[in-house]
């Protein structure tokens, strides 16, 4: 940014005129941030892969391979095959939410604590809001990847067949929505949590989310316990599992698609706004 430009109105304005436009600067910085995150991800690829593969693999292996073979537990017979069909979309949703949340929340907690290394990025010529958006986008991408990983696993591992019937329109809309909602949840949690309380993320937030997320059962079956059926509506995961069921399998009842889209969109917007607000609060004083 040299200051040798011909003097227009005032020297300060001359200086200002050398600046790139807001959009241009924001675009460049956004791309820079993505590059930086990719580099860091690349450096820790093994950890990332382990995180995205191991959990769905174990889940599918135990519930869809081991259990039917030892005639244990859920379903059994055609019921077993039915259960696997119920399970797989749930595992996709779980992978998306766990990885989406983790990708954003855990790194954010580190970056805005102690040495505030986030300042480096806050001082880039980009608005604070866009820094947060970049975090969501990158987290969502990681969630998407984690969701995709489940498919090959589901194709190979289960002992009973999975009746997959993909509704493409639903899938390509549902997947990004679920990923962004997860990353936004991660941003919100990341700005709320202190580094010391990161462990709560798993024990207090993610575990209940999972257990009560309709992973192992369709939501409509909960009509036996009406209060629970209502209570789990507060869990964003329930819409994701139901949504992925609608997108991936047939013969399993699911919530009306409209309700799923409306609720998930609502969650996405609220969490994104809350996350950005919290982020601003944490990085600016």
């Amino acid at each position: 940014m040299s200051v040798t430009a011909a003097p227009p109105a005032s020297p300060a304005a001359a200086l200002a005129a050398t600046a790139r436009s807001r959009t241009l600067a924001t675009g460049a910085a956004f791309w820079g941030l993505m590059l930086r995150d990719l580099t860091v991800l690349d450096r820790k690829l093994h950890i990332f892969l382990a995180r995205t593969v191991v959990q769905p693999l174990l889940l599918v292996f135990v519930f869809a391979n081991v259990f039917p073979r030892i005639s244990q537990g859920i379903g059994g017979g055609s019921g077993a095959s039915r259960f696997t069909t119920i399970l797989v979309p749930g595992v996709v949703a779980l992978s998306v939410i766990i990885n989406g949340v983790q990708a954003v929340a855990v790194t954010l907690v580190q970056e805005i604590s102690y040495n505030r290394e986030i300042e480096d990025r806050i001082l880039a010529p980009i608005s604070v809001r866009m820094v947060a958006v970049e975090k969501i986008v990158f987290g969502a991408l990681q969630g998407l990847f984690a969701g995709l990983v489940v498919f090959p696993i589901a194709a190979v591992v289960p002992a009973t067949p999975v009746y997959v019937h993909i509704h493409w329109l639903v899938l390509v809309t549902m997947a990004p929505l679920a990923c962004v909602a997860s990353a936004a949840l991660g941003l919100t949690l990341g700005t709320l949590l202190e580094p010391r309380s990161v462990t709560f993320l798993f024990s207090i937030v993610l575990l209940p989310l999972t257990i009560l997320g309709g992973l192992y059962y369709p939501w409509s079956k909960l009509n036996a316990i009406p209060w629970l059926q209502v209570a789990v509506l507060a869990n964003p995961l329930i819409y994701m599992t139901e949504g992925f069921r609608a997108a991936l399998v047939t013969k399993v009842p699911h919530m009306p698609l409209t309700s799923i889209y409306v609720a998930l969109s609502l969650f996405t917007v609220v969490l994104t706004v809350a996350g950005i607000k919290g982020f601003k609060r944490r990085v600016l004083t």
């Binding site: 940014m1 040299s2 200051v3 040798t4 003097p7 109105a9 005032s10 020297p11 300060a12 304005a13 001359a14 200086l15 200002a16 600046a19 790139r20 807001r22 241009l24 600067a25 924001t26 460049a28 910085a29 791309w31 820079g32 941030l33 590059l35 930086r36 580099t39 860091v40 450096r43 040495n115 505030r116 290394e117 986030i118 300042e119 480096d120 990025r121 806050i122 001082l123 880039a124 010529p125 980009i126 608005s127 604070v128 990085v283 600016l284 004083t285």
Partner: protein, 1177 residues
């Protein structure tokens, strides 16, 4: 002995007196050898305490008594020698006297200066029935036989006050017969007589200050009026008097013997015993306790009640009393019990809070009274035993009221336990020296005392007593009255202690004038002055507070009202913090503080202007940097500049005395400079003013005063020159901010905290003032000139091109210079008399001349004057009300290194945070490269590189990647980012570390990498927050090398630091911040010049040192040149050429130099001067 000195020979008496002068003045009389025979004691700064010492020493040396008034008339050794010899021929008499008690001594000295100031209100009682004046006379005679003080007269012998116990007069009580008048007329007349009696001055040398008389209102209707003086009477004595007189009258009436037991000890014996005790180690121990307790205490505490115009009401106000409501008294007593204190202590603690509120001070000095009747033996003795004790009330920490109560209890008990030394002695010994450095006298004008109402009643057999109006003292305790009407010249005895007072005494001439023809309020200390006395009367059920003082009664009433509401608040919430209770001050006029001595400038000026021969007066407080605790040449000093009326030359000693009389107890100017009416000046004490120094300057405090060092240029403002609009606006707004009626345009308000507030005020009033202008100007006058000078570059006028702006500024500057030069020209007669100071003063001329105007910093061509940063009223208040930055204005120009200096917590980092968008401002605005950081951060951030105080490197990336990605954030293409990063690693001596993790870097490397990162995008400005904090010297040097190189390339840098040396060396300009404000902003050199103590050169050598001093004084840039014990010391404004100039002058004056030492001002001096020494955490 030797006769009166004739011709120029010095008599032995004069010689001895000269040595006494020397001893008392301690070197102030002359630099070497004894004082000259014509050394004027008062002109040399003697206080009345010094005068008393002279009198004592003269008495010791010659066995001759000199009275203070005589000393005033003949204040030189030669003059006094004549008097001493006369007196010795008369012969002295010393028999039959005893020393006065400690309690009496202070009062006696006071009586000399202000006769009648300790008169008590007469005891008045109406008696119905047949009264026998002869019998009453006999009873009073018997009473006087029983109680020594009632037959005691007082004299000054050999410089000491003595009491002479004589025989009581054997006469019936004198009677004034008003029975011929109608009852009403008689009562009116009686009241007039009583009022007259109250103020009549006692001839202490001739009559005991206790005089009963009768007023006959009708047959069998008499008033018994006893005139009395505090010297022989105190509150306790009222009961003794009533009981004893009743008993004696009854015994005499019935012919019986006196029923009263013999007294175990007489008053004079008790006085002797007290004195003997104090002479021993007890006295020494007590004094050291006081020294410790009063260390650093204020010299006085004044409550500004009423008295706005300098005219005081005639005489003291009538006492205003307030009976506390019962619903308040009960809880107060309970609160006292709860705090394990007495009711008096509780009321005192509340009074302390009241004083904090009214004075705004945290450290108060007031007095209380102790009955001092230790031991049963003294219980039945009539006489004055009460003593005042100093109470130092300090607000430690942030106590609740209950905690304060316990502090007050400790303070009060401590002071009461150490009451034996006289109040005046304590003050003079402990605070006197500090005060004397400024020509002041410690003075405690506020008293808070507890009284127990009288229990006994005066019963005369056959008579029935009743009250007479409000003058009856059967009720509340005594109160002191002063004379209520002026002592008219020649009609009143002026010297109550004079033996055989009469006009035939020599040296009487001028006495009346000297004694003052004005009413006098009663004094509070060794010296009379305005006084606020608060007495608490507690009779077990009712509690009454009586306030009296030389104030307007409405003001006293306001004080009482406030006190009452405060008591209410205290009772309701004893656990409230005192600071909340103090709240905002309610005092109508807040005095200025000068050397621990508050004063009201306007009042002082008015009083001085009212002195004979004075046409007009300007008061200036010079705030010479340095501690006020050190004597002499440092610390503030008040100077009065007096324009005389035509007629005979002013005698400054007389003028000072006249001022003293008008405003007793107030500080007065350490120096008075007599200015001629335009075109002509005259030396105040008759000396011709040929040497160009402030003529007639008397400098009692510290010997020779240097020619107006750093003083603003107030003398020469032509009388009647109306202030400019800007001046008027500033003066008005500041007067409002300071809560004073008026602020002189030449008054020096710089460095006073309220000045900064006043700056806000001025802004609110629409004045376009910048803090750095405030920093370099000390008076409204010069500031207004400065503002006029820089007007074209005011905020919001940056639309023209940079070059043009610069030229415009230059032009304006030149105009300003010309304007100030013109003014200086018109002021020539006045300015010329102080050549040594004229140019050095912070006056308009100099300020405009040398202050570095905006845009004139050394910058690479092409960008000169470009404002890279502009902050206007930038403020940050954190949630919760913490004001981190309270309105900062600054500009940083392209190419300069700008330093933001300040102690921890000054607001530096917050300021940088706001400029770099990390902290959201709560007020004002900041532009970086013309872009508002708050509204357009994305744009603004493109221009800045930020090096934070803490390591905030991206820990997930390597050293190289930290730079690379930073470049990418700023829109650099991959190749360019790579090249730049590699180049910077190289440049910042990090080559080879590119692939390391940043977690493994040393502190110095981290700092360099942070800097490299900030440089990646080639920012218009880099911010460095404490760049060298925590680095080892090598890393620090390496970093500074890099910054130096960057500076050379034209990089603009804003840094914060508290390393003064660094700031001094590297910064083009610095702003000194504290408490979220910029206190000063200029180049380091200019700051040192205007705010520092100067470069001082100390020369030791042989030869005509005086000639050298004379030559040095003539230097326009010398602030101060003087002889010291070791040689010559000169303080120069600038360091460059100082030494060579001094050496050259030494050679010219043929002084052989043996040693020279130069000590230069450092920025640290400035910093400490501005921000104080207190520790910041």
């Amino acid at each position: 002995m030797v006769g009166v000195t004739a011709g120029h020979t010095v008599s032995p008496v004069t010689e001895v007196l000269s040595s006494i002068w020397d001893r008392v003045l301690g070197g102030r009389a002359s630099r070497s050898g004894p004082a000259p025979a014509d050394a004027d004691l008062f002109a040399l700064g003697a206080t009345w305490h010094d005068a008393a010492r002279v009198i004592a020493l003269v008495a010791d040396a010659f066995e001759v008594d000199i009275e203070p008034a005589e000393l005033v008339d003949a204040p030189t050794p030669a003059g006094l020698a004549r008097l001493v010899e006369l007196r010795r021929m008369e012969g002295g008499e010393t028999a039959g006297s005893a020393p006065v008690s400690v309690s009496q001594e202070g009062m006696l000295w006071n009586e000399l200066l202000a006769p009648g100031s300790f008169n008590l209100a007469p005891l008045v009682r109406r008696h119905h029935g047949p009264i026998d004046p002869a019998l009453l006379g006999a009873a009073f005679e018997a009473l006087a036989w029983r109680h020594e003080p009632l037959r005691t007269t007082f004299e000054v012998r050999r410089g000491r006050a003595v009491q002479i116990v004589g025989r009581p007069s054997r006469s019936s009580v004198p009677m004034v017969d008003l029975s011929g008048l109608a009852t009403e007329a008689a009562e009116t007349e009686a009241r007039r007589l009583i009022a007259d009696a109250a103020t009549r001055v006692f001839y202490l040398a001739a009559e005991p200050p206790f005089a009963p008389s009768l007023i006959r209102l009708g047959p069998d209707d008499h008033l018994l009026v006893v005139r009395l003086h505090h010297l022989v009477f105190d509150d306790w004595s009222v009961d003794v008097y009533r009981r004893d007189l009743s008993a004696l009258y009854a015994a005499l009436a019935t012919g019986g013997a006196s029923p009263l037991p013999e007294l175990a000890v007489s008053y004079s014996e008790a006085a002797r015993l007290q004195r003997a005790r104090l002479a021993g180690p007890a006295g020494t121990a007590e004094m050291s306790w006081w020294r410790h307790t009063l260390d650093g205490a204020p010299l006085t505490t004044q409550v500004a009640v009423g008295d706005p115009g300098g005219e005081r009401p005639r005489g003291p106000s009538q006492p205003v009393s307030l009976t506390l409501p019962h619903e308040l008294v009960g809880p107060l007593r309970a609160l006292a019990r709860h705090g394990r204190a007495t009711l008096f202590m509780t009321l005192l603690a509340a009074f302390e809070v009241l004083l904090h509120r009214w004075t705004g001070e945290d450290d108060l000095l007031i007095a209380s009274v102790v009955a001092n009747r230790d031991g049963r033996a003294l219980e039945g003795v009539l006489g004055c035993f009460t003593k005042k004790v100093p109470l130092r009330l300090r607000l430690h920490g942030d106590p609740t009221f209950l905690e304060l109560l316990s502090q007050v209890r400790e303070t009060l008990l401590g002071s009461l336990a150490h009451h034996h030394l006289g109040f005046e002695t304590v003050l003079q010994e402990v605070l006197g020296r500090r005060a004397a450095d400024h020509g002041l006298v410690p003075h405690v004008p506020i008293m808070f005392q507890g009284l127990v109402p009288s229990q006994a009643e005066l019963r005369l057999p056959g008579l029935s007593g009743s009250a007479f109006g409000s003058a009856d003292t059967q009720g509340p305790g005594l109160h002191v009255v002063g004379p209520e009407r002026p002592l008219e010249r020649g009609t009143q005895p002026e010297r109550p202690l004079e033996r055989g007072a009469g006009p035939e005494r020599p040296f009487e001439r001028g006495g009346a004038e000297a004694r003052g023809g004005r009413p006098r309020t009663w004094g509070g200390g060794l010296y009379p002055g305005t006084f606020l006395g608060v007495s608490v009367l507690d009779d077990g059920t009712d509690v009454t507070v009586v306030v009296q003082g030389g104030f307007h009664p409405p003001a006293v009433q306001a004080l009482l009202d406030d006190y009452l509401s405060l008591l209410g608040a205290v009772v309701q919430t004893p656990l409230r913090k005192v600071k909340e209770l103090v709240g905002r001050g309610a005092g109508p006029e807040r005095p200025e503080r000068f050397s621990g001595f508050p004063f009201q400038r306007r009042r002082l000026e008015t009083a001085l202007a009212a002195c004979p021969g004075v046409a007009s007066v300007t008061l200036v407080v010079e705030d010479r940097p340095g501690s006020s605790e050190t004597a002499g040449d440092r610390g503030p000093r008040m100077v009065a500049e007096v324009v005389p009326e035509g007629g005979p030359p002013l005698n400054l000693a007389r003028l000072r005395e006249a001022l003293w009389r008008r405003l007793p107890g107030s500080p007065w100017p350490a120096e008075m400079v007599v200015l001629g009416s335009p075109g002509e000046r005259q030396a105040g004490d008759g000396r011709p003013a040929g040497d160009g120094r402030p003529a007639g300057g008397e400098s009692p405090a510290g010997g020779d005063r240097p020619a107006s060092d750093g003083r603003p240029q107030p003398q020469g403002r032509p009388a009647g020159d109306p202030p400019s609009a800007a001046e008027a606006r500033l003066a008005m707004s500041w007067a409002r901010a300071l809560a004073v009626p008026e602020v002189g345009v030449q008054a020096n308000y710089w460095q006073s905290f309220s000045f900064l507030d006043a700056l806000d005020e001025a802004r609110r009033a629409g004045a376009d003032v910048r803090p750095e202008q405030v920093a370099r100007n000390r008076t409204i006058e010069t500031l207004a000139a400065d503002m006029a000078t820089s007007q074209p570059s005011g905020p919001g006028k940056t639309t023209s091109a940079g070059e043009t702006t610069l030229v415009a500024e230059g032009g304006a500057l030149d105009d300003g210079r010309a304007a100030t030069a013109d003014r200086a020209g018109s002021e020539a007669p006045a300015a010329s008399h102080a050549p040594a100071g004229g140019a050095a003063e912070g006056g308009g001329g100099t300020a405009a001349e040398t202050a570095s105007p905006v845009g004139q910093v050394a910058t690479p061509a092409g960008v000169a004057g470009t404002e890279v940063i502009r902050a206007e009223g930038l403020a940050k208040t954190y949630p919760g009300g913490l004001v981190a930055v309270g309105g900062v204005d600054l500009s940083v120009y392209a190419g300069e290194i700008f330093g933001l200096l300040g102690p921890n917590g000054a607001g530096k980092t917050t300021t940088i945070g706001m400029l770099t968008t990390l902290v959201v401002p709560s007020g004002g605005r900041a532009l970086v490269a013309g872009v508002d950081v708050a509204t357009d951060p994305t744009l603004a951030k493109q221009f800045m590189g930020v090096v934070p105080q803490m390591n905030n490197l991206d820990n997930s990336l390597t050293v190289f990647e930290n730079l690379y990605f930073h470049g990418r954030y700023f829109g650099m293409k991959a190749g360019r980012a790579k090249d730049t990063a590699t180049g910077l690693l190289d440049r910042l001596r990090l080559a080879g570390r590119g692939d390391d993790s940043v977690e493994h870097l040393s502190g110095g490397m981290v700092r360099r990498l942070l800097l490299a990162r900030a440089l990646m995008q080639g920012p218009a400005i880099i911010f460095l927050d404490e760049p060298t904090a925590g680095l080892d010297p090598q890393s620090r040097l390496a970093l500074w090398d890099i910054l130096d190189a960057l500076h050379a390339e034209g990089q603009t840098i804003l840094l914060t630091t508290h390393d003064m040396e660094v700031a001094d060396r590297f910064c083009d300009r610095v702003a000194i911040m504290d408490h979220g404000r910029i206190l000063a902003l200029d180049t380091p050199e200019e700051l040192k010049r205007t705010l520092g103590s100067g470069t001082s050169v100390m020369v030791k050598g042989d030869g005509d040192l005086d000639a050298l001093v004379h030559r040095l004084e003539a230097l326009t840039w010398a602030r101060d040149a003087r002889r010291t014990e070791l040689g010559v010391r000169v303080v120069l404004d600038r360091a460059a050429g100082a030494l060579s100039t001094v050496m050259a002058l030494a050679e010219e004056t043929k002084v052989k130099i043996t040693d020279v030492a130069v000590s230069e001002d450092s920025l640290e001096t400035v910093f400490i001067n501005l921000t104080g020494r207190e520790l910041r955490e």
